[in-house]
């Protein structure tokens, strides 16, 4: 067996979820979230280790993981992962133009990470922030009523060393 990817503390965090559910399988999604928080992605080796921990076949964990499209597998997401909403309310208020604008500003397509590893850009189906359309979710922070100017400001705050987590 190659070197273990998941640190003991991570494994303990996952084990902490066992009492919540009558089956280990139910811990798949929590475990994927924990590993994703820890590593910024869930590489295949992590899938294998999670499966081992939960007594499942790795293919079953991979099956669940790939359904959601949320978990990256090839490389860690950037420091800030930003989802730009493209569903109806946001799109009707210019959300897709803003997504395109962000693509141009960052020089990447949705799903990609800037070469400096700071920003991963994604599109989202409805963020549930239609009252703030067009909206984006940057990490844990909702960016509301976006305009190109607000995007510029946000990018500047990031460039100035902010973590993008204060609006």
């Amino acid at each position: 067996m190659s070197q273990r990817l998941l640190r003991p503390e991570v494994i303990e965090r996952i084990r902490g979820y066992f009492p919540r559910y009558p089956t280990r399988r139910a811990v798949v999604l929590p475990a994927l979230h924990i590993v994703n928080e820890e590593l910024g992605y869930v590489p295949p080796q992590a899938v294998i280790e999670i499966a081992e921990l939960l007594g499942l076949a790795p293919a079953e964990v991979q099956d669940t993981l790939s359904f959601y499209g949320f978990f990256k597998q090839d490389a860690p997401a950037g420091t800030v992962r930003v989802w730009v909403c493209r569903s109806l309310s946001c799109a009707a208020c210019g959300g897709e133009e803003l997504l395109e604008y962000l693509c141009q500003r960052l020089g990447i397509r949705p799903g990609q990470t800037t070469p400096d590893g700071r920003i991963t850009l994604e599109y989202a189906e409805c963020l549930g922030a239609c009252d703030f359309a067009p909206a984006a979710l940057a990490g844990r922070v909702l960016l509301k009523n976006l305009t190109k100017e607000k995007i510029d400001q946000w990018l500047q705050s990031l460039a100035a060393g902010g973590n993008g987590q204060t609006p």
Binding site: P44, A57, P58, A59
Partner: protein
């Protein structure tokens, strides 16, 4: 008895039967097309090909109340009064829709697809599909993904019925296969470190309703419409799975499971599935040989039977090793012949190959550690004469100690089955006949070497480890020169006419108690369990007392 009505036809069924719409319709000869449903797998109801109209008939008034929407027949339990309509315009439209949907992204590469001819997508499209393509035209794509040693996936042909995924999870329990992604981006895959190499993996190819999963050994070897399927029994282990042996011009190209709920359900293991190359192995014995001094002389079959009869009649005490690869009839005839010449003939059970432990799968399938098909049947034949079942070693010892004047050893083994030391001891007997598929240390030392027939080349009856009896007929003709066991023994016995296994079976059933149930009923294609009948008889006997 409860009655359901399918397309207006009444179907009576037992109240303890649990049928779904597809199974019920099939009993009336009505086809409800389906992809994702399989009797051996969980019901997901996702392909939506089996949509039907359903309702309930009020037993008092006879009025039928129909559900307004279509439902999948696979998930429709049939109860008393259930009404199913498969012929309506609504059902036809739904089927055409599903067919059209499944072809939207399908490469439609039937001319180069192995499944063509036995493809459900093809068949159902012909029967239920649209007559024109209405969707946009797409360039041809053909992506291939290696899933394991035996199985390859043509990604673009997959219709996402998930049968294969359910099989590896529910029946094999190995869970190598997975679906990746969501919606139209879904594909079947394996993780690179965990390829699809379980011993039941070949079944996913049979399960695949389209040409997505291919068997690498069969791929591009033969068009399926040239193949003639024959019912067979797998002789690789003591489970005795029912099979289809599929051949063209006496060459076997494929072995597939034959449904037998009492034995193998719908599955076979890869050992049995790929158990045909030895049939066509150039090393097979195909010429009867007699040792003369230090060299071998070819014996033509015309004088052979007479010569063997003569030699054994005057050799003194006879020892016979009855191989567990012999059919019941063959073992019986050989025993009859030997005992006819020498009432004290020593009958022993030939070597029983055992490899490892039984392999059990979550779906109930068992690959037996005992790698021969008919130990139980041959034991009963031996016990009938000997009142016990002597082991092979007993014959070896007797030969070594000079107690046997002639030894007849039947083989049928695919693999090395006797070592040089044992062969040497056995060959102390002055007359040694070995009747086998391949050369062995014993054939090198024998007086006569007779080429035997392989499993697909013989008629006969086998009894598996659980006393389940099945009979089959030959599927292919053996190579020229082979002396088919039953026929040879029949001729040795000097019986008139042609050897007919079925008649021999009736005969022995009248003599050997264990086989008595055979004499009382026709043998179904899937056989029956002797123990069950014998226990039932015993039970009746007790009651009478």
């Amino acid at each position: 008895m409860p009655i359901a009505y399918i397309d207006g036809q009444p179907l009576e069924f037992r109240s303890d039967e649990r049928l779904n719409g597809i199974e019920a319709a099939r009993r009336l000869g009505i086809e409800i097309p389906h992809y994702c449903w399989h009797p051996g797998l969980s019901v997901v109801g996702s392909c939506r090909m089996c949509l039907v109209e359903t309702g309930m008939r009020d037993p008092q008034t006879g009025k039928v109340a129909m559900l307004p929407k279509l439902v999948p027949a696979c998930n429709t339990p049939v109860r008393d009064g259930t009404v199913i309509i498969t012929q309506s315009e609504k059902v036809a439209r739904a089927r055409a829709m599903v067919e059209e949907d499944l072809l939207l992204r399908h490469p439609i590469d039937c001319p180069i697809c192995d499944k063509a001819g036995e493809c459900l997508l093809q068949d159902f499209h012909f029967r239920y599909g649209q007559k024109e393509r209405r969707a946009d035209l797409r360039p041809f794509t053909s992506r291939r993904r290696d899933l394991g040693d035996h199985i390859t996936l043509f990604v673009d042909r997959c219709i996402l019925c998930s049968r294969c995924v359910r099989f590896v999870r529910e029946v094999a329990g190995t869970s190598e296969l997975l679906l990746v992604n969501r919606g139209t981006h879904q594909e079947i895959a394996v993780l690179p470190e965990f390829p699809l190499n379980n011993k039941l993996s070949g079944n996913v190819v049979d399960l695949c309703p389209v040409g997505a999963l291919g068997d690498k050994r069969f791929l591009y070897q033969q068009r399926v419409w040239y193949l003639k399927p024959h019912p067979g029994i797998c002789t690789r282990c003591a489970t005795g799975c029912s099979t289809w042996i599929e051949e063209n011009q006496d060459r076997v190209y494929r072995i597939r499971p034959r449904e037998n709920l009492a034995v193998n359900r719908w599955w076979i293991c890869n050992d049995g599935r790929y158990d045909y190359p030895h049939l066509h192995d150039p090393r097979r014995l195909v010429q009867a040989l007699r040792r003369e001094g230090g060299s071998w002389q070819e014996v033509n079959s015309g004088g052979l039977v007479g010569e063997l009869g003569e030699r054994f009649r005057h050799c003194g005490r006879i020892g016979v090793a009855l191989s567990p690869f012999l059919a019941v009839e063959e073992a019986y005839l050989l025993a009859q012949w030997a005992r006819g010449l020498d009432p004290e003939a020593l009958l022993v059970l030939g070597p029983v190959p055992v490899v490892g432990q039984d392999e059990r799968f979550p779906g109930g399938f068992v690959i037996s550690a005992e790698k021969c098909p008919n130990r139980r049947g041959v034991e009963e034949v031996i016990a009938h004469s000997m009142h016990r079942v002597p082991a092979f070693e007993e014959a070896v010892q007797a030969a070594e100690q000079g107690q046997l004047g002639g030894v007849w050893v039947s083989g049928g083994y695919r693999h090395e089955w006797i070592d040089a030391g044992t062969a040497e001891r056995l060959a102390r007997a002055p007359l040694v006949v070995v009747h086998d598929l391949f050369p062995s240390p014993l054939s090198e030392r024998a007086t006569f070497v007779l080429p035997g027939a392989a499993f697909a080349e013989r008629d006969g009856t086998y009894v598996n480890r659980n006393d389940h009896l099945q009979s089959v007929r030959w599927a292919i003709r053996p190579p020229a020169g082979v002396l088919i066991e039953g026929r040879l023994f029949w001729e040795l016995l000097g019986r008139p006419g042609l050897y007919q296994a079925e008649a021999v079976l009736r005969e022995l059933a009248g003599q050997i108690a264990y086989f008595r149930p055979v004499g009382q009923r026709p043998i179904p294609e899937t056989g029956f369990n002797l123990k069950v009948y014998l226990l039932a008889e015993a039970g009746q006997g007790c009651q009478q007392v």
